[in-house]
Symmetry: C2
Subunit: 384 residues, 2 copies
């Protein structure tokens, strides 16, 4: 429908409001000036608070993948062995990055839709005592799996093993605390729970990680955090290179809004939306891919009824009704759908997404009668 | 919910997309130049096509009320007698304007929620042969009543009585043809069916109306169309005074979009939304205020269940769920609600508005079980 704008129910970029987007339309400021520096510094302060890191936070001009690369490049010397917990596509991505930096990798492939158990990590460390780092995805956007970072951090804290967490889709959307949870590197980005456009990566480091980073010879130039630190410590704090200036304008507006509402309130809101959406799916007899205890606020990954092509559903939902949802990634592209419940969205968007989804199923003969999904979501919202 | 933007389901201003709004953020051009003039001229051409007027169309820098005043001020001399068909607040507004211009008025008050019948007009003309003009509302935003302008125009066409139509909320949303329907003056504005922000009024005149206007002494200066005509005929067509320049930028983007989609397709889309919404209300046992044959695409006016305060519904729907609907006007403010089905909106917005409305009713004890309204709307959309 050309008359309307598309509602993004995709797990990143998420749907943003015009206040945030319009902030990015302001005239550019030069980035090495006292005009721009307060914007940069305030973003850093608010992000430190939301990530739960007291000392070391760096912003990269990159996507989340760039932030992942930054953590690996700065924390590990060539030849070190890294355990990569894989609960989906983004867990595998850490393996690829590690290998590109000539690190040795041990891959811990978890069962489909299941979170890693600490015992699995313990077992891998026992079998590979040479492991010096563990990478793990907080919330896997490809499978909906949310891993228990607190438990993993607690297990690793007294070991000489550095914990690197991909928090790209989880930060801002789920409770998290880098320092308290004994994480060494948390990487995230602007376009998911922090409700801003893409373009800014974030890397938080523990003190011991920062200390180790001093002794790492970074292969590469752009992501060398020593240069970031030197620029951050200038009288007028700056980036080493040119930042995504207007993305930072939007990011600051979004972070201030989150701060005003309260991060906990945002997280609770997303929880409500996610549970409401899943109540709808349940009423429709739709099977969720992710195991119950690994479910999160960020997104729900679910099977389409047999005989239905998820790609057709996606195409028709956006072309006919202006709602963009996502499909399964890689081997799941013909069986799964993914719908986010974070962003500048609310109950109304869950109701309409479920409603249009039901209409699609009805048309394709996979549903006898429409209405049960939205009804269940509405009842969830009324009762919670 | 501070996290989200408000969805406008109000009958004007209607919900607009950011493409239209952002067009209005461009740098100002000077209005008496060949830079701006093509924008003005293209708006005029597209509007002539959509209103169905070949020769005389003028744009005012005003709201719809300013356009109403323009028609009255230019068409009638002091002392003439005008019949004001009243099917709601905006019908009465014409009486007030006529009286402010020292015209004599005959008021034809129609029954609540009912359209005027041609016989009623014939009877009034018979009783008051001195009547030289008839004012009528095409689509009454206060009551949802849509009057049959074609029938009235057909009846009046051979009489020496000038027909003035308030088309503010109907144009762009319902089939209409100024010339074919023998209307003498059609007034409308930018913020409803033409999908632009408020600020531009529109006045279309028949040839005989324009001829009569030459002989009218306009009381006032700002709305004297003779000055508009003189400026429109300049080598570089212009407004007589300063136009709402950036509203015109948005208006042009919106009109081009309507033209690309096709005005008929827009009208059919709104019809579908209106019927879907009313199918939902019917399933909920909600009584519509407007008589069946006077219903339109523009909005639906309906009673709240007994014991429910519509003002509370409106307040909670917007504050808790980000959906803005409207209440009844004047004597109906404690009994009626009004929901539009035009604007940059679609099926998803009808489903979510009905869903949230049902949740409100359930919470207030006026509904046993949620879900029947959205279900009926979804089924309507599936079957139509």
């Amino acid at each position: 429908m050309e008359l309307i704008e598309t509602l993004l129910m995709t797990p990143g970029p998420v749907h943003l409001d015009s206040e945030t987007m319009l902030a990015g339309a302001a005239t550019l400021l030069h980035h090495r000036t006292s005009d721009f520096s307060p914007i940069y510094s305030e973003c850093l302060e608010l992000l430190k608070k939301f990530i739960g890191v007291k000392n070391n936070l760096f912003l990269t001009t990159s996507s989340g993948t760039g932030a992942m690369e930054t953590a690996i490049a700065n924390l590990f010397n060539e030849g070190e062995t890294i355990l990569n917990v894989q609960t989906g596509v983004f867990g595998v991505r850490f393996t690829k990055i590690c290998q590109a930096f000539n690190l040795k990798t041990v891959e811990l492939k978890c069962e489909d839709g299941k979170a890693v158990r600490v015992e699995q990590i313990a077992e891998a460390l026992k079998q590979h005592p040479e492991i010096t780092g563990v990478t793990i995805t907080f919330n896997e956007t490809s499978t909906g799996v949310c891993n228990d970072i607190e438990a993993v951090g607690n297990y690793l804290k007294d070991k000489n093993v550095y914990l690197v967490v991909d928090g790209v889709s989880g930060l801002g959307a789920l409770p998290y605390n880098h320092d308290k949870w004994n994480v060494d590197a948390t990487v995230t980005a602007s376009q998911k729970g922090f409700l801003a456009p893409p373009g800014v990566g974030m890397v938080a480091l523990s003190d011991r990680a920062w200390e180790k980073a001093q002794k790492v010879k970074v292969h590469g130039f752009y992501f060398d955090l020593k240069e970031y630190k030197r620029n951050q410590d200038l009288a007028v704090p700056a980036y080493p290179w040119t930042p995504a200036i207007n993305v930072m304008y939007s990011l600051l507006v979004a972070l201030r809004k989150i701060d005003k509402i309260g991060l906990d309130n945002c997280i609770n809101h997303y929880h409500r939306l996610a549970e409401g959406f899943r109540a709808g799916l349940k009423a429709l007899g739709i099977k969720v891919f992710t195991e119950e205890k690994a479910l999160s606020n960020v997104l729900t990954v679910f099977y389409v009824p047999e005989g239905i092509n998820p790609k057709e559903i996606i195409k028709e939902m956006v072309e006919r009704y202006g709602i963009r949802i996502a499909g399964g990634q890689e081997q799941f592209s013909n069986t799964l759908l993914r719908v986010t419940t974070i962003g500048n969205i609310a109950e109304r968007d869950i109701i309409s997404t479920l409603g249009i989804f039901e209409m699609m199923l009805k048309e394709k003969g996979a549903l006898k009668e429409v209405g049960e999904g939205v009804k269940a979501a509405m009842n969830y919202f009324l009762n919670n």
